[in-house]
Amino acid sequence: MKTLTSHPAAPDEGIALHPQRGGWLQPIRQYGEYVLGGLTALGMMLTIWAAFLYAPTDAVQGDVQRIMYFHVPMAWLAYLSFFIVFVASIVYLLRRDSRWDWAARASAEIGVVFTTLVLISGSIWGKAFWGTWWDGEPRLTTTLVLWFIYVAYLLLRFYGGRTEGSARGAAVLGIIGFVDVPIVHFAVTWWRGLHPDGYVLQGTSSNMPMPAFLALMLALVTFTLLYAFLMLQLYRLERYTTEAQRLRAIVEYGDDGDISAS
């Protein structure tokens, strides 16, 4: 009943982990990752320069505002990750192709890391600007709930192992969890009553000077590149792990890799 997730029909898998394929995509397959990694590293250095030296000091918040050049892109990246989990989960349930499951798993890991960083950087900013580490601000509270949902997702995957049943259960959480996020946001917004100081962050971005805007855009692009780069690495890690488990199962349990056969 419990078989490993590797999908016999998927053309991408097999013992050969580096299939040599021709065609015009070949250079991209071979060097694309290095270019992406290089661009990300370069963009990160530029972002640090832009955030600390190029962008002007905020008139109201002072230097603390510079944390926004990292906080906002990380928040964007977290939400992007969970959106990808949502999409990959739907496609996995419809097509039963393990590759979408690996993508969902990889994206959830990135999302949890960046949600954690968003919460930490948001708290630091809150301590400096509000004077408290935590406030019932709706976006902050929603992000905390989001963190709990996707840490539970990773735990579910951890306890479930690499079985198909576990992958389907996780996909269901990937879908319901993402649908739940706007509902949570809606509920916590109304929970305190709509108080106007709940949207302090918006006030800083609405009438932003041009250099600050450019720095933020640069940071957003860089972090999106970082997401793509991390996705490539984690996706490959997922693929190799599954493959390694399948090979180990073949050695231990017989030639079809079916654990339940023994």
Partner: protein, 225 residues
């Protein structure tokens, strides 16, 4: 006979089967009712309630008691099927997966209803809140539908792992936060009327519709094996 009538009969025969097996053997609902009563008593001591803070605080205890009891009891939704291997047979029957989900949901609602019939009067008594009435029944039903839906679908998800008991609350609590907020606020407004409060019972109904619909849609993917 139309397919709707067939589905309706299948629904109630599964609900009847679950209720019979529950009444004959397991008595989980006794443990759930006792547990929720116990949570109410523990919170009574933990909060040191006085007349002036009783109204805003007490409804939270009621809903935490319900959520805890649900997670404890409803995690067993599919446990007896899996222990006796009858899940495969249930899935082999020519029954829609949505019908199985709705049947399990209705069964869980009945269990929770029994728990609440015990817990709500106890709550009103020990917290000394005269809030028993039609409005409270509506709020309790709306909140319970949301809690039971999430517990039913994620009982199935959690049982795909070897750590069902600990996974179920971790999965369900964060997702249930909107329902808990809505239910607690609606119950509070019965005790201390609030002006300019959003229409929480209506919002709860909307949350319930979203949760039931999406859970019924994805349930088929969890149970197939």
């Amino acid at each position: 006979m139309s397919s709707f009538q067939t589905g309706w009969q299948q629904l109630w025969s599964i609900v009847g089967k679950d209720l019979r097996s529950e009444l004959r053997a397991r008595h989980v609902w006794v443990a759930m009712a006792l547990f929720s009563a116990l949570v109410l008593v523990v919170f009574y001591f933990a909060f040191d309630l006085r007349v002036e803070n009783r109204g805003p605080v007490a409804p939270g205890a009621l809903w935490i008691a319900f959520v805890f009891a649900s997670v404890l009891g409803l995690g067993r939704t599919f446990a007896s099927e899996q222990e006796h291997g009858s899940m495969d047979r249930l899935l082999l029957c020519p029954v829609d997966r949505q019908v199985i989900f709705l049947a399990k949901l209705i069964g869980n609602l009945i269990f929770l209803g029994v728990v609440e019939v015990v817990a709500v009067p106890l709550f009103a008594a020990i917290y000394n809140l005269p809030i028993l009435g039609g409005a409270l029944v509506v709020i309790v039903v709306l909140g319970t539908v949301g809690i039971a839906t999430m517990c039913t679908i994620f009982a199935a998800v959690a049982s795909t792992t070897g750590a069902r008991e600990i996974m179920l609350p971790l999965l369900v609590f964060p997702l249930l936060i909107p329902v808990v907020i809505g239910a607690v606020r609606a119950t509070q407004s019965l005790v201390v009327p609030v002006v300019n409060d959003p229409p929480w019972p209506g919002l709860l109904a909307a949350f319930d519709i979203i949760f039931v619909t999406i859970s019924a849609l994805v349930f088929q993917y969890v149970v197939e094996d």
